[in-house]
Symmetry: C2
Subunit: 380 residues, 2 copies
C-alpha cells in the first residue's frame, strides 16, 4: 500500500448511494460509495441473485482477480460455471463492506471536507454494513435476494440480512460464524487494535494525512488474528516444530521455526493490501455483533416466523467460531419456526476451511442451493 490514499483503477466498479446512510451509532453517513462486482446473468424477473459477503479482510473480488492487489479471487472453487454458486444459473453480487478499503467508503476515504475521515469515521456495525448492501440492491433495481452466503463476518451479514429483511431473503447460508462474538474473540481483536494504535506511525489515526502507515502494528494485529484462523492440529501438520532453511536451531531471534517465518510473511503481505483504520473499524463492528442482544436477549426472536430457509455450516476444528456457536444458531432458528439445516464439516483446516479445498463443504453448499433453487422455481 502506498503512503497516500490508494488510487483505485477504473476496474473497481462502484455506485454512490443517493440518500445518506443511517447508522446504529445515531448519525448518518453522506455520499456513501459501495464497490461491488457481479458474475453471471441477472434473469428477467431478477429472482436469481446471490449476494456473497466477504470476511474481515476480504473484498468484492470473490470470483475474479483483484486488479489493485493482483491477488487471485478468494472463492474460485465455489463461484463459476457448474460450481456451487453456478454463474450459468445465478447472478452473483459481492460488495466491499462499509468501512472497507477496496473502493467502499471507509476511514481512508475523504470526508466532505476533502480530508480523510481517519478516526472521524463513525463506528459502524454489521447491521450498518447490511443496510448499505440493501441500498445497493435497491439501487440495482433488485427487490429480493435468492440467497445470501458468507463465511465468518460474511456469515454474520447473512444472519443480519435474514433478521433485518426476512422478506428479501429466500435462503441464507451462514458459514463458520457466530451470532455473538465471544469474550475471547473480543480479546484477540483488542490485542490487534492496541498493536496498531501503539505504533507511532498510526499518528492518532491520521497517518494518511501525514504520509505514514502503521505497518508494524498492523502486521502484528494480523499475526495475532491469523493464529485463530488455523487449527492447532493444522498448524502441527503444516509446520510442527520444523526449522526454516536450517538444520539446527540458530540460538537467535531469527525466524528459526517455519511457523514464525510463515506468520511474519502473513503480517508483511497484509500491510501491502489493507488499511489499518479499516482494520480497527471492521474488527470493532464484529466485536459489537450480538444478534440476541439486539433482539431482547433471545436469539430466536431475531428470526421469529422467518420465511427464509437456512443452512448453517460449521467446521469441527474451528476454534474462532466453534461448532457450538453454529449449533446455537440452528437451535434458535428451529425455536423461531424457521426452516434450518445444520452441517458440521470434519476437517483439520480450522476457521479458514471455507477458503480452502473442502469437498464435503462444497457438496453441502451445492446441495442446499440446488434444492432452494428448485423451491424458488429457478430451473437447473
Amino acid at each position: 500500500m502506498a503512503d497516500t490514499p490508494r488510487i483505485l483503477p477504473d476496474e473497481v466498479q462502484r455506485l454512490t448511494l443517493q440518500a445518506p446512510l443511517p447508522l446504529d451509532c445515531g448519525t448518518e453517513l453522506p455520499d456513501v460509495q459501495i464497490a461491488y462486482e457481479t458474475w453471471g446473468e441477472l434473469n428477467a424477473d431478477k429472482s436469481n441473485v446471490i449476494l456473497v459477503c466477504h470476511a474481515l479482510t476480504g473484498d468484492q473480488f470473490a470470483a475474479s482477480p483483484n486488479p489493485v492487489t493482483g491477488r487471485p479471487p478468494w472463492w474460485p472453487r465455489l463461484i463459476g460455471p457448474g460450481l456451487p454458486l453456478d454463474t450459468d444459473r445465478f447472478h452473483i453480487i459481492a460488495t466491499n463492506v462499509l468501512g472497507g478499503c477496496m473502493g467502499t467508503t471507509g476511514p481512508a476515504s475523504n470526508a466532505p471536507d476533502g480530508k480523510p475521515y481517519a478516526t472521524r469515521f463513525p463506528v459502524i456495525t454489521v447491521a450498518d454494513m447490511v443496510r448499505a448492501q440493501r441500498a445497493v440492491i435497491a439501487a440495482l433495481g433488485i427487490e429480493a435476494l435468492f440467497a445470501v452466503v458468507g463465511g465468518s463476518l460474511g456469515g454474520m451479514q447473512a444472519l443480519e440480512w435474514a433478521a433485518q429483511a426476512p422478506e428479501q431473503v429466500f435462503a441464507a447460508v451462514p458459514i463458520a460464524t457466530t451470532a455473538r462474538h465471544s469474550a475471547q474473540n473480543i480479546a484477540f481483536y483488542e490485542v490487534g487494535r492496541q498493536a496498531i494504535m501503539a505504533d507511532p506511525d498510526w499518528c492518532d489515526g491520521d497517518y494518511i494525512a501525514q504520509s505514514r502507515q502503521p505497518q508494524r502494528g498492523l502486521a502484528i494485529a494480523r499475526m495475532a488474528a491469523h493464529i485463530t484462523y488455523l487449527s492447532e492440529e493444522g498448524l502441527k501438520q503444516k509446520f510442527d516444530r520444523g526449522l526454516q532453511d536450517r538444520d539446527t536451531a540458530s540460538f537467535s531471534f531469527d525466524a528459526d521455526f517455519q511457523v514464525e517465518s510463515y506468520l511474519r510473511h502473513q503480517g508483511r503481505s497484509f500491510v501491502e493490501r489493507f488499511d489499518a483504520n479499516s482494520y480497527l473499524y471492521i474488527t470493532r463492528a464484529v466485536d459489537y455483533f450480538d444478534l440476541a442482544g439486539a433482539h431482547g436477549g433471545r436469539l430466536a426472536d431475531a428470526f421469529k416466523d422467518s420465511p427464509t430457509r437456512f443452512c448453517v455450516i460449521t467446521f469441527d476444528s474451528d476454534w474462532h467460531y466453534p461448532p457450538a456457536d453454529g449449533r446455537e444458531i440452528a437451535r434458535a432458528l428451529t425455536a423461531a419456526g424457521a426452516e434450518a439445516s445444520y452441517i458440521e464439516v470434519e476437517t483439520d483446516k480450522g476457521h479458514d476451511a471455507f477458503f480452502l479445498e473442502e469437498p464435503r463443504f462444497e457438496a453441502a453448499l451445492a446441495g442446499f442451493l440446488n434444492a432452494a433453487a428448485e423451491q424458488r422455481g429457478l430451473g437447473a
Copy 2:
C-alpha cells in the same frame, strides 16, 4: 519499572556461581548470579529439599511477598506450615531463572564490560536454566532434591531436571506443561516478540543504555499471551460480553467491554515489573524446549530407567498446554519404566489454574508429596 536498571534491595538474596556456566548455544556465561529464596528448615542429612520452579514471568518469591514489586507471593496456597509443600517438613528453595529479571543474571544485567548485556546476552534454553539451578544446589551443599515442582515453564524445568540429573531427583511434579512447545504456542510467543521488537523504544534491544523502555510492545506481548492462559469458558463466565462502566456501547475504541479493560490492565501492570529483553529470552527458551528432540526423537529415552517418581498434573480446560501433552509425558514415562501417575483436574480456569484456588489440584499434590516423603523416609 524505572528506566534504568532496577536497583534491587538487600532483601533479594543471591549467590554467584564459582565457575562459568556452560550453555547449549556453545558459549559460557561468566559470573552468573542466581537470586533465590528459601522457606522451612533444611534437615540434618539435607534430604528434605523441594525446588520450586516458576513460570514464564514468575520469580523466586513463591511464598513471601516480593520486596521489589510489593506483589504478594504467587503460591501462598501451596507453600507454608501444613500446606502441600509443608514448610514444617520440607526445605523449599525457589530460584529466579537464568535470563530472568528479579536478581538472576539476565539480559538486563551488566556484562563484564560494565554495560548491560541487552541482545549480547546469549540465547539460553530450559536445560541451561536447570544447569544453573544445579550449580546453586551444589553451592548450597545439597547433593539431591527430594522433589522438584513447577507449573508451565516450571514444569518443563521439573522434566528437564529429571532427564538431566535423574539420581538427584527423588520425585518430580510437572504441572500444566509439555515436553515440546507446539507450533501454535511458538506462534503466540512470536507475536509477542515481534510486538516488543517493533516498538521504537526497544532501540534494537539497547533501551536500558538509552534510558527508554518498550512499554507498549511489552504490554501487547503480555496481552496476547495472557489470552492463552485463560479458558474460553472462564472468560465467558468472568466477562462474557459485559460492558465496562456503562450501560450501552460507546461506539468508540474505548475499552467498552470488561474483557478489554481487563486485558489492558494486564498489559500495563506487567511492564511495571518485567524486563522486555528477559521476555524475549525466556519465551525463546520455551520455544526451543523439545525434550524428545533432545533425546533422538523419542521422549521415553529422556527418562530411560529413571529412578524418579513422577506425578504429572494437567487441567482439562488448559489449551496452552492441553491434557494431551500431559498424557504424552505420562505415557513416555511409563514406556521408560519410570513410576508415574497422571492426574487431570476438572476446572474452567484454564492454564492459570495452578495459581488459583483449585482444591482437587492441591489435594492431589499433597497426596503425592506425602506418599513420596514416606518412601524417602521423611517422617510426617
